[in-house]
């Protein structure tokens, strides 16, 4: 299994949570971890994130660079990332679930893979469950759900709370990661044509612009409750508090 499985992590800003899950997955079966980040002409932030992934244990890091990438909506970006993942032959992908949380599911759509959002942790257990070796823990509204499924999927990892401690690194693997970064870890910069794309193919997926100079839209105020009891009753209806 580890000979053919390659885990990818899609880095979006400071995405420690997704990186932690991806590292744990790749280490559990000895698979290579490839860190990927798409960006425009300014490389500094992308390269810093990718270098950090290499330091923590990724075997390769790929920066997909083109000016059009920063103008794209979720689906345009997902299309570019999916082509990169195909080129790298990665079929187990970990993505962040912050912000719009849309790129991960859209990558799954482009690669025709199953996906899960709200993922808290994941493990690969090929010896115990060869048919469905991927075990996933994900958050529902008021429950934590456990699922098993195929080893080829897109997992969208939920962001940690502000209250949560920073992700802990495994001291034993940190040394290994540094060794890879200094010796084996490689940071590559790819252009769109390296993954079989061109800006012309993606340009129709530029994201909407914020309208300037238009009359402001009048939005409704938040729903205001007269009492805490009324709010609690609504939270219960929402499924956010246990029913009596």
């Amino acid at each position: 299994m580890s000979a053919v499985l390659r885990v990818a992590v899609l880095l979006d800003r400071e995405d420690d949570t997704a990186l932690s899950v991806a590292l744990a997955l790749s280490r559990s079966v000895g698979a290579e971890l490839v860190a990927i980040r798409a960006g425009g002409d300014v490389a500094a932030a992308d390269e810093a994130a990718l270098s950090r992934a290499l330091l923590l244990g990724a075997g390769r890091a790929v920066r997909l660079a083109d000016a059009i990438l920063v103008q794209l909506d979720y689906l345009g970006l997902a299309t570019a990332l999916a082509c990169t993942l195909r080129t790298l032959e990665c079929r187990l992908i970990v993505a962040g679930d912050r912000g719009q949380g849309a790129v991960g599911p859209a990558v799954a759509e482009r690669l025709d893979l199953p996906h899960l959002c709200g993922v808290m942790s994941a493990r690969l257990l090929p010896a115990e469950a060869p048919e469905n070796p991927l075990w996933v823990e994900r958050r529902l509204t008021d429950q934590v759900q456990h699922l098993s499924g195929p080893a080829q999927a897109v997992l969208c990892v939920t962001q940690r709370s502000l209250l949560a401690a920073p992700p802990k690194t495994d001291p034993s693997s940190e040394g290994q990661g540094q060794g890879q970064a200094q010796g084996q870890g490689t940071l590559l910069t790819w252009k769109l044509d390296d993954v079989g794309l061109s800006a012309a193919v993606l340009v129709h997926r530029r994201r909407l612009r914020v309208a300037e100079g238009v009359e402001p839209v009048s939005h409704p105020r938040p729903r205001c409750f007269d009492s805490a009891a009324a709010l609690v009753a609504r939270l219960r209806q929402d499924g956010l508090l246990p029913r009596r």
């Binding site: 719009q100 509204t141 699922l147 209250l163 729903r223």
Partner: protein
């Protein structure tokens, strides 16, 4: 004629209030657009006599037509996700190509909506705003800023070339009042293999605090020693929440906004408010007797000028 679709989410057999609010705003938009409003209702099996109730409910809240989605996977897990509901929703979208597909912002919608949007090649606006202004469809991002297509992408539907998939948070929109009856349509999902299999579920509590008071709450959380932090994040027991809020609220003036939802920091999933600062204490007391399990609650503490 344009189609506006609203996917209703059921939990414990009841429609979530946010789904009816989404239906209400969709009613107002559809009326202005001259579109037909369809309420999509996922049912695990073919409808029975009792389903008349849900059709009447949808009609009373503004639906022109009610589409009953059937698939044996729809009731297989506690909440919807793309793997259980995606095929049925896409089957409906194939039969009734939507100009707008609106869902209540929920944990399930966060999994389902972006994937459906991607399949449709649609715009995706999580926790977005949708309204009509001067006869034009206006879509706004999460921050409420109006969006406009790029110059070369303007199309017929409200200036947009693509279908738009939008989630709206609880509490944002009012429900609508409609007729007593609506036409019913049944759409069955095509057969397909399941992706993941549910192994189990456990109740899990967690509380998160974001906004201007977050730092004070975090400090109080640490100082009080409340909660039990695990790999998935902190579990803040109700007494800990009381201590934390007591520490955080006094420096703030005005009202507090309460955002309840998935708990991921920065992701506001409801637009609720309590009018006075003192209400924070009352809220926490009300929550406290929910022990031992408070599901994820995000309290966004912020000064509200009103």
């Amino acid at each position: 004629m344009a189609n506006v679709l609203v996917l209703l989410e059921l939990r414990h057999g009841a429609v979530l209030p946010v789904s009816l609010e989404a239906l209400g705003q969709a009613r107002r938009v559809a009326t202005s657009l001259g579109a037909t409003l369809y309420a999509l209702v996922p049912l695990p099996e073919a409808p029975t006599y009792g389903e008349d109730d849900i059709i009447a409910l949808c009609a009373r809240h503004g639906a022109d037509k009610v589409v009953l989605l059937t698939d044996d996977r729809l009731g297989s897990e506690g909440e919807m996700r793309y793997g259980t509901h995606g095929r049925a929703v896409l089957a409906a979208c194939e039969q009734l190509p939507p100009t707008l597909l609106i869902l209540g912002a929920s944990a399930g919608a966060r999994d389902l909506a972006p994937r459906v949007a991607a399949r449709l090649g649609a715009l995706y606006l999580p926790e977005g705003w949708v309204s009509m202004q001067a006869g034009q469809l206006v879509l706004c991002d999460r921050a409420g800023r109006p969006l406009t297509p790029n110059e070369d992408e303007e199309g017929a539907a409200g200036g947009l070339e693509h279908t738009a998939v939008i989630t709206v948070p609880p509490g944002r929109y009012q429900v609508a009042v409609g007729a007593d009856e609506a036409e019913m349509v049944i759409v069955a999902a095509p057969p397909g293999k399941p992706d993941f299999a549910e192994v189990g579920r456990v109740l899990s509590a967690a509380a998160y605090v974001v906004g201007e008071g977050a730092e004070a709450v975090r400090e109080a959380f640490v100082l009080s020693g409340a909660g039990d932090e695990d790999a998935a994040g902190p579990t803040l027991a109700p007494p800990g929440l009381v201590v934390a809020l007591d520490a955080a609220v006094p420096p703030l003036a005005g009202a507090i906004r309460v955002a309840a939802g998935e708990g991921a920091a920065g992701q506001v999933h409801a637009h609720y408010a309590l009018p006075m600062r003192e209400a924070a204490t009352a809220l926490v007391e009300a929550l406290s007797w929910q022990a031992p399990t408070i599901p994820e609650i995000t309290l966004e503490i912020a000064v509200d000028p009103t």
